[in-house]
Symmetry: C2
Subunit: 623 residues, 2 copies
Amino acid sequence: MRPFGQPGDSSPESPGFSFSINAPWRFVVFSIGMPSSPVSLSEKRHTLAHLLAAAVLERYPHAKATIGPAIDNGFYYDFDFSEAKGSDSAPGEAELAELESAMRDLLPTWTEMQGTEVSAEDARDRFAGNPFKLELIDGIVEAGEPITLYTAGSFTDLCRGGHSEHPAHDIAPDSFTLDRIAGAYWRGDETKPMLTRIYGLAFDTKEELDAYKTQREEALARDHKKLGKELDLFLIDEKVGKGLPMWTPKGTTIKYELENFVRQLERKYKYEHVATPYLGGEELYKTSGHLEHYASNMYAPIDMDGDKFYLRPMACPHHIRMYQRKPWSYKDLPIRYAEIADYNRYEKSGELMGMIRVRKFQLTDGHLFVTPEGLKEEFKNVCRMIVEAMTGLGLIDIVSYRFSKRDPQNKEKYYPDDELWNKAEGLMKEALDELGLPYVEAEDEAAFYGPKLDVQARNVHGKEDTLFTAQMDFLLPEKFDIEYTDADGKKKRPVMIHRSTIGSLERVFGFLIEHYGGAFPTWLSPVQARVLPISEKHAAYAEELLATLDAAGIRADADSSSESLGKRIRSAKQEKIPYLLVVGDAEVEAGTVSIESRDQGKLDPMSGTDFVAKVQEEIRARA
Amino acid sequence: MRPFGQPGDSSPESPGFSFSINAPWRFVVFSIGMPSSPVSLSEKRHTLAHLLAAAVLERYPHAKATIGPAIDNGFYYDFDFSEAKGSDSAPGEAELAELESAMRDLLPTWTEMQGTEVSAEDARDRFAGNPFKLELIDGIVEAGEPITLYTAGSFTDLCRGGHSEHPAHDIAPDSFTLDRIAGAYWRGDETKPMLTRIYGLAFDTKEELDAYKTQREEALARDHKKLGKELDLFLIDEKVGKGLPMWTPKGTTIKYELENFVRQLERKYKYEHVATPYLGGEELYKTSGHLEHYASNMYAPIDMDGDKFYLRPMACPHHIRMYQRKPWSYKDLPIRYAEIADYNRYEKSGELMGMIRVRKFQLTDGHLFVTPEGLKEEFKNVCRMIVEAMTGLGLIDIVSYRFSKRDPQNKEKYYPDDELWNKAEGLMKEALDELGLPYVEAEDEAAFYGPKLDVQARNVHGKEDTLFTAQMDFLLPEKFDIEYTDADGKKKRPVMIHRSTIGSLERVFGFLIEHYGGAFPTWLSPVQARVLPISEKHAAYAEELLATLDAAGIRADADSSSESLGKRIRSAKQEKIPYLLVVGDAEVEAGTVSIESRDQGKLDPMSGTDFVAKVQEEIRARA
C-alpha cells in the first residue's frame, strides 16, 4: 500500500498483452488474472476514465457512455450526447471544471472496484438503450470471451478490467485534470456517429502532472505550425489546398540555405545533380511495381493525348532512365545522382500536419548505381554523409538510427530471395558496425526490395518519426534491366542505393523550427542582423552600416520606426533575430556598433567591419 | 526580261492578297489579273511545284496529285501514292535525285504556262478518278469562284494561278533542288488520308540556293535538340514522357547557374523570393477566370478527398494568396514576389519541341503589387531588369520588344473598360519611351486583362518567338479583391504586374544552346577547364592543379587517358570546353600551365594561381 501522492510504478507501460491494430476492443484493457499490486499508472488512468463516465452520467443522464481507455498522458472517454437537450445539452470546454470537481467529489466514495462475470443476457439488460454497449457485447459474444462488468461506488461499466482495486486510496485527487473536448467517430469510422471525447491528463502525483503540463506548454510554444505563423515562415492556405504549404519570403530564405547546404555537401561526396520532372509515364510505374504495390499512395493519372501520366510518388524511375541514357563501364561506377526532387503522396485530409505531413514535398533525393563489390564502401559513404548532414543542421542530438530488416517468415511482404537478403543485411550490418554507428535493429521494417537504415528524429513532444532513410535495392535494377560492363567485358547488374541527405525540405524544416524554437542559427536566420538607430539623427550612419552588411552578403534590415528603442528591441527579439545593432551618438562618434546577440547577450562594441568579419565567419562555419 | 541566273525580285514576298488561316485554298495562290512581270520568287516556286507534279506523274502514273504551294524556302507538293505498286511504289529519299533530274529535263519544254477558265463539268471530267481534285472543285463551285486550269508542256493542273508565264526562261535550272520527303494529312486533318509530301528548295539563283543551304546546315548544327544530345545537356525519354525533358548533370549545372543569375538579379531589384506548389485548388482558377478562359491549356483536375486540384498553368493565384496572408499599407508597396515557378500547359504531342515547347516548365516568374501612382516607375524598373538580364545572358542582340495592345474594336477578347485600357496603354507607352527602349507596336496582341511587353527572340533559323512578357493587370486584383490601405486610411486596389526575368529555364536554355552553338561563356560552361597531362609522369602535377582549380570553385576535370594528346585535345574541343590546360615537362619545371582558350586560341603560359585568378574574374563578370 502506498500513501497518496507517492510516485507509482514508473516502469514502461505494459498492458499485459499486445493487441492487434484492428481489434475493435483494443482500448478496453482487460486485466483478469493479472497480479493486483502495485497499481500501474495505466490502471489508474483507466480507473479515472470510469470515474469521468460516472461524473458525466450523473450530470448528463441522457448521455450514452461508449468506451474509455488509458492513453499515454491520461485517459479519455467517448460519449454520445445526441439525445441530450436543453440544460442537459452536451458539455463544452467551460463545463470541464465542473465535471472535474464532480470526479473529485466521487473519488473518496470509490473505495473499491470489483469485477463480475455476467451472462450476455444480463449484460444486454443492463445496457438496454445504449446501442454502443450492445454492439460491444455482440463483439465479445462473437469472440467467445467472458463478459465482465466493473463497479465502483454506484457506477457500473462493461469492461475487460485493468483498474485500481481501491481507487480512493490509490489515486491522488490532485494528480489528474480534465484537459479538452474533441469529436471522434464511433470506432474511428467516419461513416459512424460522431461522439464527444473528453480527455483527461493523469499522472501518479501532482508534481508529475504539473511537470507534464509545463513541458507540453513549452513544446506547444515550439510547435512549428504556431511558430511558422508567428515568424511568418510558411502558410497553408485552404484555397491553394490542404497539404500544399507555401514558403513565405522568410521561409524561402531558409529553404534556399538548406538547398545550398545540401548541394554543397553532395558535391563534396561526388554526387552529380540532375533535374527531372514530377510527372512520369504509366509504364515507368508499371515496370517499377509502384502501380502494383504503392497505388494507394498515388494520385489518379492525368491523360495527355491518350497517354497516362502520374504525379510521381518517387523519383527512382526517372533517375534510372537518366542512368540508362548511355552505356557505363565498371570504371564509371558508382554513379551518384542527386536531386531536390518533387514528390507527391496521397495523404488523407485528416492526417495532414503543417510541414511534417504534406501531399507534395521536395525530397533531398539521390540514387546510386554501384557495383556489388563496391556496395559496402559506398553505403558507408552514405552513412558518413548523413552524420555530417545531421551535424551540420545541429540535429545530431535528436537523431537515432534504426537498421530495418525483413522478417524472414513474412514471405509476402519481401522480395523472395533469401541469399540476396542475407547478403544485403550482412553487408549493411558490417558497414554500420565498421563505422561504429549506434543503431537499433528492427525486424519486419525493411522495404519490399531490401534492408534500410532509418534516420529517426525525436520531436519536441518526445515522439520519434522517420526523417528519411537509406536503402539497398537489388530489385529495381532487375526490373529495369540496368547494366554496366565489367572488367571481364560482361554485362553485369549494378545495385542501387536510394538515400536522402536531409529528408524532405518540408519535414526537416518543421523539425528545425521546433528544435530551435524558431531561433535558428545565424546561417539559417531569415534576418541575420537588425540595425536600430536610436534616433533620426543616427539614420544616415545606420544606412551606411546596412549597406556594408548588404555588400558583405549578410541579410540585414533596419528598424527606423518612431517606436521607442525598447519596443523595437522587444519586437526584434520576438522575431528571434541573432544580432541587434544599436547605433546612437556614442557609436557614431567611435565608428562602432553596440551589439546585442540573441544567444550571447551584450557584446563589446566593435567596428562595422569587425562585426561583418565575425558574422561572415559564423555563417561560413554554419555555427 | 531577265537572263537566266540573274537575281530576281527580292522584295518582300507579297502574294497579292491576304488569305484567311482557315481557307482550304490558302496554298493555291491565285494570280489572274495580277501584273505579269517581273516574276516573283514566290511565283517561280509555285511554278516549280507544278514541275515537280509533272515529273512525279510521269514516273509514277498511279500517283494522285493533290495540292502544291510555294513556301518560304521553296515549294512542296502532296501526292497520294496509295494505288502505286511494285516498281511504281511511292518514292523514297533515294528517288529525289532522279525526280529532280526529270524536272530539269522537263523545264526547257515549259516555255509557256497558260491558264484557262473551264466549267465544273469539264474540270470534273479531267480529274475523274482523283478524289482530292474533285473535292477541291466542289469547294470552288461552292464558293462561286471561277475554275481555272493551268498548262505548261503537257502537264495541266487545277490552279488559281500565280506562276511564271515563261518557266523555261524565268527559272534557272540550278536554282532549285528537291529537299526531303515527309508525311502530311490531306488538308492537315489527322482523320483524313496520309499523303506523301515532297519538299523542294528554290531561290532566284544557285548562289542564293547554296547560301541558304550553308546557312541551314549551320543552323542545324546549332539545333538545341542535336547539341543537347551531343553535349549531353538534356534528354527526352519516351518512357518518362514527351514534353517532359530531364536535365543531365551537365545541363543541371547550367540550370543552377541560370537560377543563381536570376535570383541574384532579382535580389538586386528588391524582389522577395517565395516557393509555392504546382498544384492549386479549383476555386483559385474559378476566381482567376483560368477555368473559363484557359481550360484548353490545362490538364484535367486531380481529386483529393473530394476536392479538385489542378496542375497550375500559371502561378498568379498562388502569389495573390501569398500577398493576402496579411494586411499591407501603401508604405509597404510595391510588394515584389519572385519564384522559379513550376508551370504546366497542355500542348499537343505534335507541337512539342525539345526544350522550347514542353508540357511542364519552370518560369522565372514574378508578380508585383503596385499602387496605381507607382505603376509607371515600377514598370520601368521591370524593363530595366529585363535589359540587364538579356545583356547578362548575352542574348541582347537577338532580342527585340513588342508593345502589345488591344484592338479596341474587339469587344469579346478584352476586358471591357475603355478608360482602364487607355490609361494602361498610355502608361506603358510612356514608360517605354522614357526608357528609350526600341519597340514595335502590335494591335490585338494584348492579354485579356491588360497590355503587355513581349520580349521577342530570333532563333538561329531567323524565326522570332516570344521569350517572355511583362504585363499590367487591373483585373485579377479586382477578381481576388486584393487591397492595401492608402495614406488616407482607405482600402485601395493595387495594380499587378506579371513579369519574368529570363522566361522559362527550358526555353531560354534552348535559345542559349543555339545562340552559342553549345560554346557557352565560361560562367555557364558545365566544364570550365580540362587538365591534360602530356604523359603519366605529369599526372601528379595535373592532380595538384586540379585540386587548386577545385578549391577555387572552378569546374574542372582531367583527361589522363592513354589516348594521344592530339586526340584528347580534339575530344575536349568537341565538348566546347573554354580552357584546356596542357602540362608537360616544361610546365612542371616552370610551375606553369600552357593554356589553349576555346575563344582566344593559345595564351601565354602562366602559373596555376594566375590562371585561377583570371578565370575567377571572368566568371564573376559573367563575361
